[in-house]
């Protein structure tokens, strides 16, 4: 393993905190590739210490919370600003109602001290295959809105991940928000497996989003984290679940397909074989969990 340069000082950089979006894009236009964007900073600060990032300019978005923050609902869409912290999502009744899986994942990212400053936009931009926010968003069919000097564009959440720690952002672009379809009947849940319960990176994470009507699953999506170079939609499993009988037997079949969809590697956190096993077990548990919500409602 790479040794951590505990005593190495962070190299010098110029620090800029634009007051408006247009000022931010102006700065990005000038500094382009030499700039790094800081939201919460929990990933970037470590990268600076480890020298995996060496920007000449660091651009802090903290004055842009009115444009890039907040959790709001409008016209059937739940919008979570890129600067929303995991603590804010964890405490949000709107997130609890329309994106329960994301709320659960947010409550388990890192530690209390990380969740208070780490942001949803930062988690997506870092693009870790194990990003805990990604499977819930992918399962919920969320989109990411990206702002650039020449305009906006929208991508499905899974498309912002292009490889391990690689994202689809062009130079000068920033993530402004995530949009989640706000549908009251959607049941969603998230879970993970890891070497301990807290303060840990997921070895496998799974999210499910579905509806249940007249004993059948409606449109259903299962998404997986840490089992491929990027978080992924389990396509075969999602197709097999959509429109099928809402039963424990079907949960078993869908879970087996999800394990086949997964493309894991072996690493320090788990072997590939064990990861596939975990996908199957966790997927089955989640489907049975969302089925059992009938008993509660």
């Amino acid at each position: 393993m790479k040794s951590f340069q505990y005593l190495a000082p962070i190299p010098r950089f110029e620090y800029l905190a634009p007051r408006t979006l247009s000022e931010a894009f102006k700065i990005l236009g000038v500094h382009g590739k030499e700039a790094a964007i800081i939201a919460g900073g929990t990933d970037l600060t470590i990268a600076l210490k480890e020298r995996t990032a060496a920007p000449k300019v660091v651009i802090d978005l903290r004055h842009l919370r009115s444009e890039l923050g907040g959790i709001t609902i409008s016209k059937g869409v739940l919008r979570i600003g890129a600067l929303a912290t995991f603590s804010e999502i964890e405490a949000s009744p709107l997130a609890g109602k329309y994106a329960n899986s994301l709320r659960e994942a947010s409550a388990n990212v890192g530690t209390l001290q990380i969740r208070t400053i780490a942001t949803l936009g930062g988690n997506l931009a870092t693009a870790s295959p194990a990003a805990d926010s990604a499977p819930p968003l992918i399962a919920l069919g969320a989109n990411v809105t990206i702002l650039g000097r020449s305009g906006n564009r929208t991508l499905p959440v899974q498309s912002i991940f292009t490889g391990p720690k690689r994202n689809a952002l062009q130079v000068g672009e920033i993530i402004s928000s995530v949009e989640i379809p706000a549908i009251e009947e959607v049941r969603s849940a998230w879970t993970r497996a890891a070497v301990r319960n807290e303060n840990v990176l997921s070895a496998v994470s799974v999210a499910v989003a579905t509806t249940v009507h007249d004993g059948k699953f409606g449109a259903s999506r299962i998404a997986l984290g840490a089992v491929a170079p990027t978080p992924m939609l389990a396509e075969t499993a999602s197709r097999a679940m959509t429109g099928s009988e809402a039963t424990a037997e079907q949960a078993e079949k869908v879970a087996a397909l999800a394990a086949e969809d997964a493309r894991p590697i072996s690493d320090i956190r788990a072997s590939a074989r064990y990861r596939k096993h975990l996908v199957q077990v966790l997927t089955r548990r989640l489907i049975i969990q969302v089925l059992s919500e009938d008993g509660l409602s």
Partner: protein, 160 residues
């Protein structure tokens, strides 16, 4: 152009204006420059919690915060929670419960537990353990600290 940044912020209730290089962490600044040596550097990667401080009232690992990020904000360290002559309820209870062994993790632990004391006074034991999972202690096993928090809260252990 790699200039210094001028920052104004509050540290433990006192206003400060400092000009400094941006390429340092809040942890290093607080410990080495500001003299609040209760802020300890453990892992320097945001896992151990020894450097925990309150930033605008919320617990953060100060080793993950770049110092220019605190401009216009308020920082409270363990020194700002109470004094030797007037400790806060959690600090007092730590003494009563012998909740300290080597002591290195304790300032960060007290910051987190004081925040739980203020914001989640009804927390169950599992919830307390979840919230304090970002403060690693390799000596005590955490039980004395939870008992100290219970004493400070005036409540008994419960599992929720």
């Amino acid at each position: 152009m790699k200039g210094k940044v001028r920052l104004s912020f509050k540290l433990n209730g006192a206003k400060r204006n400092d000009e400094m290089e941006p390429n340092q962490t809040l942890c290093d600044y607080l410990h080495d420059v500001a003299g609040t040596t209760g802020v300890k550097k453990g892992c320097d990667t945001g896992e151990c919690g020894a450097c925990t401080v309150l930033l605008d009232g919320m617990p953060v690992t100060s080793c993950l915060v770049l110092v220019p990020q605190i401009d216009g904000r308020e920082v409270v360290t363990v020194e700002g929670l109470g004094k030797m002559s007037d400790p806060n309820p959690v600090q007092r209870a730590f003494v009563e419960h012998d909740a300290v062994q080597c002591g290195y993790c304790i300032p960060g632990m007290i910051v987190t537990l004081s925040w739980i004391h203020e914001h989640f006074p009804g927390a169950s034991d599992p919830e307390i353990r979840r919230l304090m999972s970002g403060n690693l202690c390799r000596c005590t096993g955490y039980q004395q600290q939870i008992e100290a928090l219970r004493t400070a809260l005036g409540s008994a252990s419960h599992s929720g």
